[in-house]
Symmetry: C2
Subunit: 421 residues, 2 copies
């Protein structure tokens, strides 16, 4: 019988912010974190005095590699005037800031602190695509990256296994991509706020204008099947199956539950947390699920006493379209092998019964790896508070959402359930 | 009035291990961690079942840079058979594993976990000295490293300021070095288990054997003043003022206080923890102290209700000889400007009233940066349990010790007080 884990003291979120995600020649990591932190300060309904913040946890994957600078805790602590208070960096590849969020929770639940700032950042676009691919490969297990396996290759292998086992095909991946792109224009922070149809129509208009032969794309899928616009990266991963290279920062203000109402009349509570670790593809008996995600989900459901059905919407880690399919199954939203059918049936659309990646997901919102985990929680928080504007989920009595973050090739996975008590 | 911080649940140490520190051509990070973990298992008086460990926190500075591999949490979790349980990497430059220790404490104190493994590792010696210097400079703040300031330069500037303010000189640094070297041969894990006198006599013997002119070194200081054996690195830092390049790993087993006696009749308790962040040298009003260390010390003393006089011995971060002088003042063991006199008077010797760096310190034990923080705590734990062999502190009623870790140029500082209740 699995032990049900609990925190000795509840934790609530009273503010959050994120920078616009994108590729910014003229902004560095500090600019981006400042942008996020300024929004956070404005987001606290009853205001905060930043001097009351006790500690900082900051997720960063490898600005070591990307920007030749590590030790970002004190740099950000200095930026926002927090020194000499403590600042700790966490790293779990693309799940780095989900770990920062989790450590912030433990620090408050332990009784040591009452108010903790958590966040993440990454600055990737100053490097070439090849360098970014090399940098990201640092997060694979040695049997993968050092053997030449890059991330599109890893997820291509996973997709092939999923196709073989469950009978899905490339069109099912396209459904994920099209769905995420439909959400993105509704998110002002998204790196690519364009639907696939928008992109297609822009290409058609451009061809017409230039007097070139106008392609005969009957619909979005025909467009995505055209290798001129959607070339293969690593079968069956094509360009539109892959998230972009991004810069960005995100942050969130956590407080002990008993003081949450000093800051807002609408605190969002941490109902469940879970984290798991994985061994890498070489050690998997089956490539169609992530054991670490399943473990994290079990922990979060166990702590919260909730079931997958109780989670009304979620952000899940769609570094590649296939990842979204695996995760919505691993989190229990759909049965194994049923995820791709659910997406095909529109169940995960913004207006569906289980909206997934309302933000546009990593695919369209962008994926500055160290910032992603907290940016997912930002989206869930924003939706729960009914402040997601045009992309607001319309589910009645919206009160519980989830965020799932994956690092490496399943090396670090987290699942967090937020909601109202 | 500063708030006194407390943990909602006490935490105790019931086991610890560390690899030998050194430069190992034939051992990698996993070999080293395995060495430490095997010792840890043997060190638990009543034994443990590793399957009972709930989570892992692992400090690593930048194997990203040194070994082209990040995301070490799951690699080590896999190594010791812990997957799919969570594994989190912390980074705070040379204080990386002190942060892992701290997060392990919070995770238990929060009530979420009962038994957490914490540790650290770094693998540096496969890179050239120039590359290591470049890698370490990633941990300075951007105004320093990116401007060409390396660590010996930073601590050279600090030493110069200390000399100017307090009237110390190079011989006072030598006292620190000679003292640490006197302890090192008593530590079987030390990278350089030799006294300065040993090294001097070996050089004399070698000269004699080769028929070369035999140097006229009247004592250890004369030896250290000879630029042929102790060349300048960055004034007044000479070779013997600087810690070496090292590989190594360390780990420690933390449990909730109420279950500690299931594992040992002699648990060592976490009495006080503190952590601070700093802005870098450009922002200091005075280079002769570290604000982050003072802040960390205040927190640890505040939590424990203890004073500097209560801490009977300590490991402090002597990346450079001058650092030890600053820290023993910042921690309150000696008044500002009095540290160098205390060392000259022998007060910090193994048989003195306030032994400092009984392990030989970073200087002689070695400094695999991510492993150092927990290795310091390992030394304190070993001493408190009376198991330090030939280097055992002989103070009567030994029951409280401290460990101080510094990352970067004071960007991250921690102070931890361990003891018996």
């Amino acid at each position: 019988m699995k032990k049900r884990r609990k925190l000795g003291r509840g934790v609530a979120i009273v503010g959050a912010g994120m920078s616009k995600f994108g590729m910014f020649k003229d902004k560095d990591s500090k600019d981006l974190f400042a942008e996020a932190f300024l929004e956070l300060q404005d987001s606290v309904d009853k205001g905060i005095d930043p001097n009351e913040i006790d500690a900082l946890y900051l997720g960063n994957f490898s600005n070591d590699f990307f920007m030749h600078q590590s030790h970002w805790g004190p740099i950000i602590s200095d930026l926002i005037g927090m020194t000499p208070k403590p600042a700790t960096r966490t790293e779990g590849a693309c799940a780095s800031s989900a770990l920062a969020f989790r450590e912030g929770i433990f620090a408050i639940a332990s009784g040591f602190y009452d108010m903790v700032l958590v966040g993440g950042l990454e600055e990737m676009s100053k490097r070439t695509t090849e360098e970014v691919a090399e940098g990201l490969a640092l997060a694979t297990v040695p049997y993968e990256g050092q053997a030449g396996f890059t991330f599109p290759g890893v997820f291509g292998a996973i997709a092939t296994a999923y196709f073989a086992k469950y009978g899905a095909n490339r069109e099912h991946l396209m459904n994920v991509t099209i769905k995420s792109h439909n959400n993105a224009p509704l998110n002002p922070k998204a790196q690519y706020p364009l639907t696939v149809r928008d992109i297609m129509q822009a290409k058609l208009k451009s061809a017409e204008k230039k007097g070139l032969p106008v392609p005969d794309w009957s619909d979005e899928k025909a467009f995505l099947k055209d290798p001129r616009v959607n070339p293969m990266v690593a079968w069956p991963m094509h360009l539109f199956d892959c998230c972009p290279i991004s810069d960005g920062a995100s942050c969130m203000l956590l407080v002990a539950e008993e003081i949450a109402r000093n800051f807002t009349d609408d605190p969002i509570h941490v109902l469940g947390i879970g984290q798991g670790s994985g061994r890498g593809l070489h050690a998997c008996d089956d490539l169609t699920y992530f054991e670490a995600t399943r473990f994290a989900a079990q922990e979060a459901y166990g702590m919260s006493g909730l079931t997958p059905d109780d989670v009304q919407f979620a952000e899940v880690h769609d570094c590649f379209s296939i990842a979204e399919l695996l995760h919505i199954e691993d989190l229990g939203f759909f049965k194994p092998g049923e995820g791709y059918k659910a997406v095909a049936d529109g169940l995960t659309r913004l207006d569906g019964p289980k909206p997934i990646n309302t933000s546009g997901g990593l695919k369209c919102k962008g994926h500055p790896v160290g910032a992603t985990g907290v940016s997912q929680l930002y989206e869930v928080w924003t939706q729960l508070r009914g402040k997601a504007g045009k992309r607001q989920v319309s589910i009645k009595d919206l009160h519980i959402g989830g965020a799932h973050n994956l690092g490496g090739t399943g090396g670090t996975c987290t699942f967090t359930i937020l909601g109202r008590r």
